[in-house]
Symmetry: C2
Subunit: 369 residues, 2 copies
């Protein structure tokens, strides 16, 4: 008897395609009924303050924060409909969650703790209130899970699509902050988790969208792709790594988050640190679903791992002396090492060929139609 | 002989209508030629760091700031094409300037000093590089004039229009911060500058746009409206008032910036402070150009002053004991006083009628087409 793979609740395939399937939501409240202030009040009424550093959150001209003697880090990202997400297969709740997570990832890449966010949204009135409630539910869930206060934002109209702009604030002691610029020759290049999954998840979703266009009755079968689809639709930021590094007493010499792909990010690290790098193809951590899906799509998995993007893992360099502290940790994989700048930046293939690393990463400005 | 009013360089009428007139800019560099990182580097290369609190600006996963023991304030606003601005008469340089100013205004409304901003932009490829350069020139000019560091941001595509999202950060001592919630009965209600001009400037620009549609050769004559048009296109934030209040040794009991109109803002103050208010129609400060343009458009100037919006002046309440300190100051006009909550919120007309104050302010969510 064929073994049936059971999906967890949150992996139900219909969830991912809810936008396609549930287009005709019977409950539909027009945004105009509430007005701007009413809408903001409605959407933010559950936001509570958890951090003592949040003196005043939503409800004044500006939030007031007190991080005492700590440094603060500030980062911002904008997600634009049909550039960064496609609502035909991205559930709004997941989108809200992801919009927060991609910003927190940048905070963690500074070795800082995320404490506050602001969320601005521009939305056309083709979205009913219930859609915005779903979006904010995702934002609120992420804020709860990552323990950040939502301290401000802006809600306004757009003439067409949905735009989400999040600013994240974190705190870090002066001695703990990690920049892109501290890598030095002989440091180990370390990546967290596994990479390439988010990109392959996107490929599957794009394929199913095409199938759906031809036959809307056909329920997509996504059982083989649950991990990679979740990595695309609902990525997590590596808050745990900041805590783990502290626990292991390891301060990376440099760190960056992987939003555009390992190639692109390692080039940033090397450029800012004035060094070269060698990455070993055989060391790159890949999930089995990435490997099997790459085979199915007839794509080279190393190319995907290096250029896929949207993994929101952390890429860091660590002093060789710290190697015993990270050795064997399942969250941290050594994939190469830093060299003198004049050695260049290379991928060492399984066949021991040295191939120059170039950034083919996802480029927001080339995705335009 | 008729006296000719000379316009300053920045008031040249053709300036305001440059988008209409100079549509066919001979220099046109496609954004795709640069790519995302090239574009950001190109646009931000002149941004220098002025504040010691800016430890690290643009160029890492996040900016790193150190405000030492001071509180920080954080505020964010999004400007969306065809909702908040119309590029047929808003020059991009002024738009960039205004996008910064509207955020700084919120910082000053906390009685704080603005120190840093982040700027995120989503733009469709119908904009050439030169258009973005003009936009960033305005952003940079505002940053210079208001002495704030540009420490981060995001630049991405949009499928249609232009969206600008700015986050502003300021610092303030714990004892100096002013909220919306501190007004108490008998406090004086004080407004800075004059009000209603930005709204009337918009009416003139909208009218000229309609004229231009019918006859594109007709150069609009804007000499009578230079002040109100400048208030609309290139507003200033009241950084000087934060300094002035310190110099006068006056700490307002509450304060808010006037972005949606005095009616709407005074309701916020009263609601947060649990008080009532009386505003005297005869005390409302109006520029002569506002009065004459209101007459020309056959609109009641008091209605415009109370509901116009976009003035970016400050509305505050001051303890009666501080009145001698502000008396006669041309920047500060007493327009009413705070009452017990049960007295309600009223406008006292020139005919001594008490009319309930209701918010008719500009509502972003009703402006949608």
């Amino acid at each position: 008897m064929e073994k049936k793979v059971r999906l967890q609740g949150k992996h139900q395939k219909s969830d991912y395609f809810c936008s396609m399937i549930e287009d005709k939501n019977p409950q539909r409240t027009d945004l105009e009924q509430l007005g701007e202030f009413g809408l903001i009040e409605h959407l933010t009424k559950n936001f509570d303050v958890k951090h003592t550093s949040t003196i005043k959150g939503i409800g004044d001209d500006a939030a007031v924060l007190n991080h005492n003697k700590k440094h603060i880090v500030v980062t911002t990202d904008m997600l634009v409909e049909n550039i960064h997400f496609d609502l035909s297969y991205v559930p709004l709740k997941h989108l809200g969650y992801k919009a927060v997570v991609v910003n927190l990832s940048d905070v963690y890449a500074m070795n800082a703790n995320a404490t506050q966010i602001t969320v601005s949204i521009a939305v056309s009135n083709r979205f009913p209130l219930e859609a915005l409630e779903a979006l904010y539910a995702g934002i609120e869930t992420a804020a709860k899970i990552y323990n950040v206060d939502i301290v401000g934002g802006d809600t306004t109209s757009s003439t067409t699509g949905l735009i989400i702009s999040v600013t994240a604030i974190g705190e870090v002691s002066e001695e703990d902050v990690v920049y892109r610029s501290g890598a030095k020759p002989n440091d180990l290049l370390v990546v967290t988790g596994d990479i390439g999954a988010a990109y392959m998840g996107l490929q599957v979703l794009e394929r199913e969208k095409e199938v759906f266009k031809v036959n809307p009755q056909n329920q997509p079968d996504l059982e083989l792709y649950t991990y990679i689809i979740e990595r695309q639709l609902k990525p997590e930021a590596r808050k745990d790594i900041v805590a783990l590094l502290k626990q292991l007493d390891v301060k990376p010499t440099s760190m960056i988050d992987i939003s555009d792909g390992v190639s692109s990010e390692v080039i940033h690290l090397c450029k800012h640190s004035d060094v070269g790098v060698e990455i070993y193809e055989s060391k790159i951590p890949l999930d089995p679903q990435v490997i099997s899906t790459c085979e199915e799509f007839n794509i080279d998995s190393t190319t995907i791992a290096l250029n896929g993007g949207e993994d929101y893992e952390l890429l860091m360099t660590i002093d060789q002396n710290d190697f015993p502290k990270i050795k064997g940790n399942p969250n941290l994989t050594v994939i190469g090492y830093i060299t003198e700048k004049n050695r260049g930046m290379h991928l060492i293939t399984r066949g021991e060929q040295a191939i120059p690393i170039i950034a083919k990463g996802w480029n927001a400005l080339k995705n335009e139609e």
